[in-house]
Amino acid sequence: MEQKKHWQSFGELNKSEAYNKDVKDEFKEDLPFVEDESKSFLNAKAPRRDFLKYLGFSTAAAAAAASCEMPVKKAIPFANKPEDVVPGIAKYYATTYVQDGDTVSIIAKVRDGRPIKIEGNDLSPLTKGGTSARVQASVLDLYDTSRLRFPTINGKESSFEAVDKAIAASMSGNLVILTSTITSPSTKAIVAEFLAKNAGSKHITYDAVSYSGILLANEASYGKRAIPSYHFENAKAIVSLGADFLGTWLSPVEFSKQYATGKKLDEKNPEMSKHIHFESVASLTGANADEKYLHRPSETLSIAAALLSAVNGTEISGIADAKLKEGIEKAAKALTSHKGAALVVAGSNDVNVQLIVNAINNAIGAGGTTINWGATNNIRQGVDADFAKLVEDMNAGAVGTLLIVGANPAYSWFDAEKFKSALKKVKTTVSFAGKMDETAELCNFVLPDHHFLESWGDAEAKTGYFSFIQPTIYPLFKTRQWQDSLLKWTGTTEDYLGYLKNFWTAKLGGTAGWDKALQDGVITIGEALTAAGNYNGAAVSAALAAATTAKKGGNIELVLYEKIGIGAGQGASNPWLQELPDPVTRATWDNYIVVSPALAKTLLGIDLNNAGQADAYEVNPPKKVVKLTVAGKTIELPTLIIPGTHPNTIGIALGYGRSEKIGKSAAGVGKNAFALASLSGASVNFSHTDVSLALTGEKYPVALTQTHSRYDTEQGNRTEVVKELSLAAYKHNPTEIRDEREKELAPWGGLEKFESQGTIYPVFDRPGIKWGMSVDLNTCTGCGACVVACNAENNISVVGKPEVLRGHEMHWLRIDRYYSGDMDNPNVVFQPLMCQHCDNAPCENVCPVAATNHSSEGLNQMTYNRCIGTRYCANNCPFKVRRFNWADYTGSDSFGDNQKGHVNDVVLDMNDDLTRMVLNPDVTVRSRGVIEKCSFCVQRLQEGKLKAKKDSRALSDSDVKVACQQACPTNAINFGNANSKESAITMARKENPNRQFYVLEMLHVLPGVTYLAKVRNTDEMPAHHAEGEKAETKKAHTEKAHG
């Protein structure tokens, strides 16, 4: 088979010198041998005498350290052991992740009183056990050293009693509660009671990245200022106008779950949903789309208008670009041919765009099928105009007291300076922020709120779908839930827990119902209605008129976007999220200007088709810094070249440049791009149609991980590691991949006998268990939830930006990004790659101390206490998944000074006693000088086996779920005992014989991880098919391929 040519980096595309060198070397940097070879050994930098001195000293030091007396350790049991708590056994509590409006039902794993891991709640009808990177990382926020530890009055420590008194005295009329979106019904009731008690007060909702456009458009179209439920699982055709619904748009976990059902391929009946994506800057959702078209942000409205007219069967006008026009026609065709099973979503905050999208959805019959007005989505309720009005009122001195919950406009409002000066005119300002964020800093009173894992509460992400919050740990600091404060100030004697309990026992018919709801964590009240909504298209004509008069964009346009980890800045203080490589750019610890390869050529003078220039760009972390000017504001940021970005558009991520007071990992990372947004009409516009760029001549290092861990075979045919084909090609010849594998392995007995005939080693028996994993590249969206879950489960160190720059990141699981096709708008495939647990593992043979070897259950075992750090294994690993502890990242060495000068503040912060509470006590914390890698979560495997043994029964799938599998919002990862006939992994392999492949299979390393090839729903047929086809099928398929 003539594989699509996949490439990870520009160097690889060009087969450049640096690339060829890189794939051969074990590690990115050169080994520290700097001596001139002509000099003798004695004159070398570390001559013999020094060597002997070091040897002597280290032996003496080791002896001294080791011969110290054994310390006396204490074993302190409980004074009164709670009956249901057994030390060493984890408890699981259902609760809910809430971050501003975002709501995900979760299970918190609590070990000895400390929540240490977040898992998805399978009972949730919305997220169905899925999580995101941010949800996974939220447990670390609980132990953040920068959390506020007590209430303050004007920056001075105080007590809650004193604060209550002071606020009661200074609370004056015209009170405003400013919150981010509240989904909690009980909290809303409390707020209403509080407002009723204080005449002239009101509640304003503010979302940093608002959905005002949709809310207002829906108000016009459906008479409701709300967002409906979307059902991607019912859609056979999905068109997205820049909505990153798999990454950051609205409710990505829920949408990923839904989207994956349409992308799961049944080999016997290969049908998939069709997803066409229009965007300006490369996004995660765009990367997953079947077809993707690029446009300028200024064209969004006219594209929506054109799509509407195409759907209505009229001629498209106003689109100059031929490709784009073709795309719109294709999209319209897909939508109209799947009427009632089609969906259009748009990410734009422009009311007009959303009005037209509503018209399209109405025309294709989305109401009642893919769009449900029976249950509205409550996770974004803020309208920017309301907040803009509030700022005006504050400036006019019309606000006496401002209570701020969750909202942080001093950072995220486009005109933050105006807000800050307006805030000074408010007499009493109260912040309930858990950390000293940019807004809390300016408030008189700061009453820190609990972390959600310490809180009580409820959430209604969608009308009728409730999720409950219960504390999983006693509050660590002197904090108080803000609902408690509000209740107190209303004059209610009851605390929030009592209020919540009453609120729900009344609804659920008694304490039993409440207990059950808490235990399950979720409840659905009332049969979920399905309603199409009453559509009113009156406003569309005005929107269409606006499309014709829309301003043309300048030479360069700007898009401000959210990153999957950082969001609108909520993730900035979380080291796990900062070190999570962005799925699209693969960069960590920074924001930057995303430019297209075409713009790179003209602006930066980098021609990526020139091997030398591509190398110069790629090999050296410092990237050219560009000064961007827009409407009088400037920002200087480094540039990254990302294919799939429109040539006349650049992108900048929001959420960076935050105050160092919210955490060590936020300090000095990136720049704040919120200031570049602007208010247009009733909503904030996160794009700009005309910006100017200028090279500053400076360079700034960006910690990119894509060029790390590169690997190749001796034959240089690494393109084989990821396999992709179009749905048309798959239907034409389903066994294409299998045939190709068969052909390749034919000299060694073919697929059947490859294991025994491809080697001189004997084949080993594996009675009992053989662990295996299967990853479906078709449903994997590359979101990174698994990467963070792996971090949390396996105590993986954060290494900080300077170390990532040197290629020292420690992630056991990485998601490789592959491009294929046109460099300006390539197809993207994501491939999660972890230790493949090869049955014939090359790393095992080369370890001089047998620290890595094979278990009878098919695990490639790594024994840290045996490892002496030769790194031969890492050198010999064909997949480059082994990680070396270059420095003492964990603070576990006997000598404390070993960390000095080697690790940065963020790493030291991770070793604080508070932060270390997040560590999983079942996994060894690795010290300097040892190799580590994916263990298939062996601690979970052992625990699952023990569970079965204690019950005296055979192991079942439900006993063992590895962390990445658990976290995955699309169920792309399957894991289990491949020896069992009924296990999910056996079924996954049996049901997908055609798409299944091993990475670098021809090496005969016999990986334990199978992948299922990516199938993209396009009609594209590789050239060779047209020629080599069999006569009987020829006609039908050529029509399809070229139709």
Partner: protein
């Protein structure tokens, strides 16, 4: 040496004493004692009022023995019959209902009553029946190592003398035959001696060094002094309390768990004095059991005669004895529940220990050896049903069924069974 001997003496004396008293009691009442300990002792003593009345003479207080049986089996139901004595009793003891024991058979109740009658009142016989002094005439055990040492020394001296004699005789013979006498080389300059000495020093030194290095971080026989002298002999040995009663975690998970104060107080609210055999600590000094119970009360915040407020308890800071390095994963449930290994296999005869002593060195070699030899519950535990091949091989005799399936055979000596 002296210390060991005194322990041996003590234990033998104690053992003899037990043999003496246990043989003097009827078999029937011995059952009664166990039943009493298991069912009654947490609320009743024989000669003392606790939560419930002192039980001495209980039979005489009840007019009808059938009523007594009914009361014991279900006091609440019996109260409803309106029996005046029962109701008076109920009032006297603050309306605290006695637990129901519906499963006790008549013979068992009789056995308990019989036991109660055999218990002498300590108030009436204060000095009687004290345990024999530990300084009883005992045969001292011969210490062979000293004997062997002396023997070796004697033999070495003899061989030295013989060598010297041999050399002298040779010299005489040489003189006689007229052979020229060589200048004698003193032994400290004799190269063969020096070489031999060096080799011996090297071997002995190397052996000692490597043994010393291996024992670093190991602490077999570690027996620290604990905040409270807690005797496993008294609890697990004499009173036959199941290990699981206190170490409930051992059957459930990783940690065996040290019982919390409230578990101690379950029994010790009632048992406030120790009047068993004399207790001796590691140094051979006598320990006052009752004083140790008072120490517990201090931790528990318990004042005798008053109801206990559990919230006043403070945890006891025991000294940890069994320490595994952080890179070792050990799970009690895996061994005790799944593997059905007895506690004593690793902890020694814990029921005979006063303060606990580390029985094994907890070295990796020790773990591995056991994993090589111990059979898993291959047929008994349903988990192993997936090893179909081994089951067949066992049936067909391909695998030695006497040897069984050892832990090693199913991968129990692989690194990542304990290190991850």
């Amino acid at each position: 040496m002296i210390l060991n001997r005194s322990i041996v003496k003590t234990s033998i004396t104690v053992f003899l004493f037990f043999v003496a008293i246990s043989s003097s009691v009827t078999v029937h009442a011995q059952d009664g004692k166990a039943l009493f300990s298991a069912n009654c002792a947490s609320c009743h003593a024989v000669h003392k009022k606790l939560t419930g009345p002192a039980l001495a003479g209980v039979e005489s207080r009840w007019a009808n023995k059938e009523h007594l049986y009914a009361w014991i089996r279900n006091s609440a139901a019996f109260l409803k019959t309106g029996d005046p004595y029962a109701n008076a009793l109920y009032k006297e003891y603050n309306m605290v209902a006695m637990n129901a024991f519906p499963s006790l058979k008549t013979e068992e109740i009789d056995a308990i009553l019989a036991y109660i009658n055999t218990v002498p009142d300590p108030a009436k016989a204060p000095a009687g029946g004290a345990a024999g002094s530990p300084a009883g005439a005992m045969n001292e055990e011969a210490d062979n190592s000293l004997l062997f040492g002396i023997l070796t020394l004697i033999l070495a001296v003899i061989s030295l003398i013989l060598l010297q004699v041999n050399a002298n005789l040779k010299k005489l013979a040489d003189d006689k035959t007229g052979q020229p006498a060589l200048e004698p080389i003193p032994f400290w300059r004799n190269k063969s001696y020096i070489a031999l000495l060096t080799v011996v020093l090297f071997v002995v030194g190397g052996y000692l060094t490597s043994r010393g290095a291996m024992s670093l971080g190991r602490s077999k026989d570690y027996q620290p002094e604990q905040p409270i002298y807690y005797s496993h002999t008294v609890h697990a040995g004499v009173n036959q309390i199941n290990c699981q009663y206190c170490h409930s975690g051992a059957y459930q998970g990783k940690q065996a768990t040290i019982p919390s104060v409230n578990v101690c107080m379950n029994c010790h609210q009632a048992i406030n004095e120790y009047n068993g055999d004399k207790l001796y600590n590691a140094a051979g000094e006598e320990v006052d059991g009752t004083a140790e119970i008072k120490k517990l009360y201090k931790y528990a915040g318990f004042e005798e005669g008053k109801p206990w407020d559990a919230t006043k308890a403070k945890p006891i800071e025991w000294v940890r004895i069994h320490n595994l390095p952080d890179h070792v994963y050990f799970n009690h449930a895996q061994h005790v529940k799944a593997g059905q290994v007895a506690c004593q296999t690793c902890h020694g005869e814990i029921q005979k220990m006063g303060e606990v002593k580390q029985f094994t060195d907890l070295s990796m070699g020790w773990c591995i050896n056991c994993h090589r030899e111990t059979k898993v519950q291959f047929k008994e535990n349903g988990f192993y049903s997936i090893y179909e091949k081994y089951h067949e091989d066992l049936k067909s005799g391909k695998l030695d069924s006497a040897k069984g399936i050892t832990v090693e055979k199913i991968g129990g000596t692989e690194c990542q069974k304990c290190h991850y």
